[in-house]
């Protein structure tokens, strides 16, 4: 067999090759059978995720919107055009859209060469580097904000060296966004690029195409949907950016999400916040629909090969130069902010030392910001994130299992629905939790479960996106083979699916853990003052004046970064063949 197909790649689609008898008529016959029992099973599997999203997402969001738009028992939809045409709101909308577009363009510009290098070149330390560039993506936005503040802000590295400050300019936000999303492009585009068979290009060249034209006519069309999907993902993340803009934007710059936060938490103007939430909801819905469409196209008929076989050492000065410049950009863009963060955390008023870290150990040293020693936030965060991971795995795993079988429009809609929490205002969700889940039978306001539930909401999309491609790549006939050998449906899942997706499950768990750890927008509302999480504690320190507070913020950020990085490096060791969608 010339094209040795790695286990679990898209080339083994259930309805794909059927070997020598692959005529159109019979290819259809080997597809998964559709029978009513299957539909019932799918519905049963979907019940838990549907209930989860209904209670902990739709209900709180609806509650907030209702609270804002309904007064004295009447709907006030007139508020919508009123708010949307307010010049201040128009400014926010405009800024949100253009900074997201600019961030996306900048990210693509900087990360696409990186995607190529990671896909096609083999060089020592590649695995470690891939883990390192992914660290920012799972870093809490608050940490990213503080890192860039430490680099570009008042008293930051550039300020000290050359007197340059960028924290008041939009560049700080854009650069932080590139830093944050570099890995999205490298992993999504590079992951597919590495699996494209280079012989396709060679075949085009044998037919007389130049190197450039072969790339343009063969590789680019195969890659385009992945680039589009990555771009839309980056757009989504930057459009809804909160922590980064909250910290770096100062009073001048606000995204919709930041505006929602200000209206809700500071100005207590719920009607405006509700309208803004709806606007964001609509925009995100549009982006997600576009994303779902590109992803579906990407799952089309591509002949994929084992990524390990397509990479080779760079040849010639041009390729070495490309590798060198990509590594330099990665070092400058990714490593510098992280290094500065660590440096600032160690650099106290009395020179270098662990003063900031020591101060974290008692509540008194935190200057009255906390009821408890800030270091306890580490324990809180780990506990919450662990519970959130379990919830996300159960909910996301069931959803992925239900979505494995390709089916009609309804299921595809469910697929897109699962992505919504990624783009919906976390602030709205968090505040919605407080408003909606405060009366029996669901009085959770005083319960610690509230935080992991909100965090799981963000984790679920990652679990689904990581598991689904792998589950779908499992050849359906393997399940049939097990059934014919006497395995019941449940047993089939345990014996065939689970072992094949075990690694993907671990990766999903890691992602869910990291994003839960870093969740800020919702947690800031619902975490109790005596049980702060790490990102909340960092934000509180940053909100206070004083050098010690700043140092403690940096110290906590460093701790948070190290925890995230550790879970990511562990992930890199169990990477699946398919890198999923992220």
């Amino acid at each position: 067999m010339v094209l040795a197909r790695p286990v679990g790649t898209a080339s083994e689609k259930t309805t794909g090759d059927t070997g020598s008898t692959g005529a159109a008529g019979e290819a259809r016959e080997v597809g998964p059978p559709r029978d009513p029992r299957g539909a019932a099973l799918r519905l049963a599997l979907m019940a838990v995720p549907l209930a989860f999203f209904g209670i902990f997402f739709a209900y709180p969001v609806a509650a907030i919107v209702t609270r804002g738009l309904r007064t004295d028992g009447r709907w006030r939809f007139g508020r919508i055009p009123e708010v949307v045409s307010d010049p201040a709101v128009v400014d926010v909308l405009w800024f949100t859209a253009w900074q997201a577009a600019a961030s996306t363009a900048l990210t693509l510009l900087i990360a696409l060469p990186g995607a190529y290098v990671f896909a096609r070149f083999a060089f020592p330390g590649k695995g470690l580097l891939r883990a390192v560039v992914t660290v920012p993506f799972v870093l809490p936005t608050v940490v990213v904000g503080s890192a860039f503040l430490a680099l570009l802000g008042r008293g930051g590295l550039l300020d000290e060296l050359w007197g340059v400050r960028l924290d008041t300019s939009v560049w700080a936000i854009l650069l932080a966004h590139v830093f944050f999303n570099y890995a999205v492009v490298v992993r999504t585009v590079g992951g597919l690029w590495a699996q494209l068979d280079p012989r396709q290009e060679e075949a085009a060249r044998m037919l007389g195409a130049s190197r450039l034209s072969a790339w343009r006519r063969v590789t680019l069309p195969a890659l385009a949907p992945a680039v589009a999907a990555a771009a839309l993902m980056v757009f989504l993340f930057t459009f809804t950016s909160f922590g980064v803009v909250q910290i770096l934007g100062g009073p001048h710059y606000a995204t919709l999400e930041v505006a929602i936060y200000r209206e809700t938490a500071q100005l207590l103007d719920l009607p405006t916040a509700a309208v803004l939430s709806l606007v964001q909801f609509a925009a995100v819905g549009g982006v997600l629909a576009l994303h779902a469409w590109t992803v579906r196209r990407r799952e089309g008929a591509l002949r994929l090969v084992d990524p390990a076989r397509t990479a080779r050492r760079p040849q010639g000065p041009a390729q070495w130069a490309l590798l060198g410049s990509v590594l330099a950009v990665a070092a400058l863009l990714i490593l510098t902010p992280l290094a500065v963060l660590v440096e600032r955390s160690l650099n106290g008023p009395d020179g270098y030392g662990f003063d900031s870290y020591r101060a974290l150990q008692s509540a008194a040293d935190s200057g009255g910001t906390f009821f408890v020693a800030p270091l306890e936030a580490v324990g809180n965060s780990l506990r919450y994130a662990a519970v959130a991971t379990v919830i996300a795995l159960v909910v996301g795993g069931l959803a992925a299992a239900a979505l494995t079988r390709r089916a009609g429009r309804l299921v595809r809609g469910f697929d897109a629905l699962l992505m919504l929490p990624l783009g919906t205002s976390a602030v709205t969700v968090g505040f919605g939790f407080l408003i909606a889940l405060d009366e029996p039978p669901l009085d959770l306001r005083a319960s610690w479960m509230l935080v992991p539930l909100a965090q799981a909401l963000v984790g679920v999309p990652f679990v689904v996106r990581t598991m689904l491609p792998v589950l779908r790549a499992v050849d359906h006939r393997l399940r049939e083979a097990a059934a014919v050998l006497g395995a019941s449906p449940l047993r089939v899942w345990r014996e065939v699916d689970l072992p094949l997706v075990g690694r993907a499950l671990a990766v999903a768990a890691g992602f869910a853990f990291a994003v839960s750890l870093g969740e800020f927008g919702a947690t800031v509302f619902i975490s109790r003052p005596d049980h702060p999480t790490l990102p909340v504690a960092v934000a509180r320190f940053l909100g206070r004046a004083g050098e010690l507070s700043y140092g403690q913020a940096m110290a906590l950020s460093t701790i948070l970064m190290l925890v995230c990085a550790a879970s990511l490096v562990a992930l890199e060791r169990i990477r699946t063949d398919r890198s999923g969608e992220f």
């Binding site: 020598s20 008529g25 006939r477 014919v484 395995a487």
Partner: protein, 345 residues
Amino acid sequence: MALLRCDGVSVRFGRHDALDAVDLAVAEHETVCVLGPSGSGKSTLLRVVAGLQRADAGRVWLADRDQTGVPAHRRGVGLMFQDHQLFPQRDVGGNVAFGLRMRRTGRTETERTVAELLDLVGLPGAQRRAVDSLSGGEQQRVALARALAPRPRLLMLDEPLGQLDRGLRERLVVELRELFGRLGTTVLAVTHDQGEAFALADRVVVMDRGRIAQSGTPLEVWQRPVSEFVARFLGFDNVVGATVRDGVAETPWGRLPVPPGTRPGACRLLVRPAGVRLTGPREGLECTVAARTFRGDHVALVLRPSDSDAPRLEASCALRDAPGTGERVGAAFEAAEVVVLERDG
């Protein structure tokens, strides 16, 4: 007693009939081979019997039990998939033992059975090998051992030797036939390769577009294909329209002898290549040799009749008698090799 009986089984995919009212019976210890081209519905038939595909109409009976609503894992039949579908995450032993584990067979018995089966298929001691380290032929043998392990009452094989090279295939067919005879297994196999079907089967069932075109022993099917479809599928191309009168058929090739008792009237006739005898150019039908193909023990000839309205004719002859391309020869016909075909629907 028929172990397997299909009564009017139909399956539709959209507007396409994959199976159209198929009736089929397989007796205990019998090996039946379903033969047909791609898309004739033969794999669908196996999937219906296995319980992997619901029939839109008709019933499947196993040992006189109606299987409607019985899920695949409770039917107790074995199915060897076309491309084996070995579980990649398990080693050879784990694959073969799978069906036994599903039946909660004890550990020692499982190990003994696995070892026996691996001996039987010619891979002794291969338990710990990874399945992706196996060659195509070895995977084939493991898949067979896996399907046999739970002692299914009916073993079904989907293109059992489809992806193997010719030499291996011919050897394995003989081995399989001998093995099934020894074990007394009831087998239902599907293939598109007539050589495989004839070598393996007690009875051959030819399928055409979801329907059974002919059923009989390999010899019956080979000697007396009932329809033009079956004849052409078996590789016979000497088929012409004819009118039978007084024990002789009028054809574009001239007057052909027909077997005694042939009904008069219009029909289609098959002349097997062996029934075309070469003579001198002035005797029989005058032809030119258009092509000759060396087939090892004989030479296949394509003859172009001088009368340009007559279709080309295939003949076979021994190597030393074979005329060269472009030579002019005569063709005579033997009644024993002339078959009257049913009209195809």
